[in-house]
Symmetry: C2
Subunit: 425 residues, 2 copies
């Protein structure tokens, strides 16, 4: 099977001339199978179309922002309506206060909010808030966890200097002993513990948060006066109508949010407890577009849908249907195939697949059948998906497993993923 791709190829050539590397960041397809399209033309609900007109059921959901469906009519109408009144002005609008009030009402640990644009803006200001609050320097975070692309947290050293990541101690996520050892090493200089709400690193199985680990992080912060920061940027609103750690009963002092907060419109935020409010008011943080009113209008409409619809239960049901169905079909085809993490944000990995040659082949076969999955990054469900969509994905998966079974023995190594076998595993 082969889809048209001439427009995508032509655009890639033009892009290579005027964009470093042809593309950059998390939306570069450099580490995806070669047949994945780089450029898209439009999107609606749970589907998107590439520039060559191929249609996909999209399990990436823009890497998270799409929660209620692309081009959601209610949310986009709220955006456009506010755009006509005023968006980027010489000051904020009333919507900023309303949005802060609604977030405080929704999220148990939150007493206040600061809005920004990038997820990285939120995690960076959480770092500064904790250092200002404690007047200490050291932070603990988990090896391999992603907290953004600023030099203090980026996982690739190019362009950074060693001092960018000074005063940081790394532990293993879900490993209580390693967390305790890190805290001991920090001594009386601990400013904050960063925690992802669950382990959602790329290339490896995801893992739910261990209750003992979460409690230990809280306990260390209570004992030392450091702040506990949960980085909810990727998971926020997909696992809970509250901070996702509310499900295990552990409340942080600060949390960071973004991605789907306004269903794809650009806004992120830090939420905090009263005890950190003064420090948050002392740091200087800002951005040209942080006070935009239209994304706040879209966020308010998104929150209305969060409160008033069964989107969360639907994501759970659809996610279970997908995960169970995939496991069944993989097993029937004789594959060791792991679906890890919360079913609303699943990650798929084949057993015995160190350079991802099985994952790449299977994902390409899914793509050929109109289903966009990712071979090494967690995916995202959206509320616009239907049971019919999931069943279509499962049918595609069955066919893709069959092709993989046939081609498996003759699969070539995936050269561009060889770094995985060299270092990660």
């Amino acid at each position: 099977m082969s889809r048209p791709n001439s427009r995508d190829r032509a655009l890639r050539e033009r892009a290579a001339a005027v964009i470093p590397g042809g593309m950059y960041g998390h939306q570069s397809v450099g580490l995806l199978p070669d047949d994945y399209p780089q450029f898209f033309a439009r999107a609606e609900g749970a589907h998107l179309w590439d520039v060559d007109g191929n249609r996909y059921l999209d399990f990436m959901c823009a890497y998270g922002p799409n929660l209620f469906g692309y081009a959601n009519p209610e949310i986009d109408a709220a955006y456009v309506r506010q755009l006509g009144l005023g968006d980027t002005l010489t000051g904020p609008t009333e919507l900023m206060v309303r949005l802060a009030e609604e977030m405080v009402a929704l999220v148990t640990h939150a007493d206040w909010a600061i809005f920004c644009k990038n997820g990285t803006d939120a995690t960076s200001m959480a770092l500064s808030t904790a250092r200002q609050h404690t007047r200490r320097k050291t932070i603990i975070r988990a090896k391999g966890a992603y907290h953004g692309a600023a030099t203090w947290c980026v996982n690739r050293p190019a362009g950074t200097v060693p001092s960018d990541q000074a005063h940081q101690i790394f532990c293993d996520y879900n490993d209580v002993a390693s967390l305790e050892a890190a805290a001991a090493l920090a001594g009386d200089d601990l400013a904050a513990i960063f925690a992802a709400p669950f382990k959602h690193d790329a290339f490896i199985d995801q893992a739910d948060p261990d209750l003992a680990y979460a409690r230990k992080a809280r306990e260390i912060c209570d004992r030392t006066g450091a702040l506990l920061i949960v980085d909810e940027v990727r998971a926020g609103l997909r696992l809970s109508r509250d901070l996702s750690w509310s499900r295990i009963g552990v409340q942080p002092d600060l949390s960071t949010w973004g991605k789907c907060l306004a269903n794809g419109h650009p806004i992120s935020m830090m939420l905090g407890a009263d005890k950190a409010k003064k420090a948050a008011s002392q740091i200087y943080v800002t951005g040209s577009f942080w006070f935009q009113a239209a994304p706040m209008a879209a966020a308010l409409e998104t929150l209305r849908l969060v409160r008033d619809t069964d989107y969360l239960e639907r994501l759970q049901t659809l996610g279970d249907r997908l995960a169970d169905g995939l496991r069944e079909r993989a097993s029937a085809a004789g594959f060791g195939f792991r679906v890890s993490g919360p079913v609303q944000m699943p990650l798929f990995l084949f057993e015995d697949d160190p350079d991802l040659r099985k994952g790449f082949c299977w994902s390409s076969e899914m793509l050929n059948r109109g289903v966009y999955v990712h071979p090494w990054h967690n995916m995202f469900m959206c509320a616009a998906m239907t049971e019919g969509d999931i069943d279509a994905a499962l049918n595609a998966a069955e066919a893709a497993f069959a092709v993989l079974k046939q081609q498996g023995p003759s699969l070539e190594p995936v050269a561009k993923m060889s770094f995985l076998t060299a270092s990660h595993r």
Copy 2:
């Protein structure tokens, strides 16, 4: 004269409960006269309305983003049209390539582009690109210059640690000897020289770039292999249809842009020369909303207006009319009153006004007459302004000078600006 302000006061109280400090960043009115409104309701063209219905001719233009008028129909239509097709997707659209191509065509020094959201994203990635390109650490930048709100460049130390600003040497803008001394101190570790396109620091007179200074920066970079970075975030597209230093014939290796690039829609960028392209492709930079298509559609429409209209000549004419008219009226009223910087981005300061009591009084009187000016930050002209608007502002100014003349001897010190007399002057 007193304007209604009850809604603004009520919103400030609600904001104080759920937003640290009641407001934050550059749009907080904390350091403006007490009667300045914090919250706005709508905007159109050159005017905005606060939440109490007061209308202002707005010389802040959202601190820069408003170049072609608030709610510009052509630009916003382009945004909304693209929003209906697709905005934040699982990959970029063709518009990203077109926008990069158009920027490369417009800006002399540019061979490529990377798009982002905040101005700080652009300056931060310029820093990383220069460090990666040179494999060196040290940067030179001018004392007091604003290059963003990340910890490496923020001017307020709260929440930062000393290592955040390691490997930085400061010089005096427009002072060739101080630039040479900084370069000598950097020795063989110089990665980059940052330069504002003109001196646009707060609280003090603005200054055009000195040609000898700009050439010296270029020469040092050529001699050492360091990269010259011009931070055009604030000035871009207001002084030139090219990088503003093209007017003095000095080309940088990297430039950073934002603010009015899409007339208020959220997008910023780094442009670069071919020699830095490889390094730019090696750093890891990204953000959840950096690939948004709608702001790129708006930027393309903004660039069309940049190319096809006489907006730039109009800004110059209107700016001259404003600056000349103000100087005339100030002088007639017997005030030493300085209008500094390019007339499209003027800054107003009174002589003998160390705690800005004259500036605050006069600005408040302007506000009372429906003209929003800033007492210590540069302002921004937009192409939606008319000669009639400028004349209205000049009439307001004449009346405000008269009030100031009357009240001058009895003006109280401005307590919240006392830090200026303690440290800056």
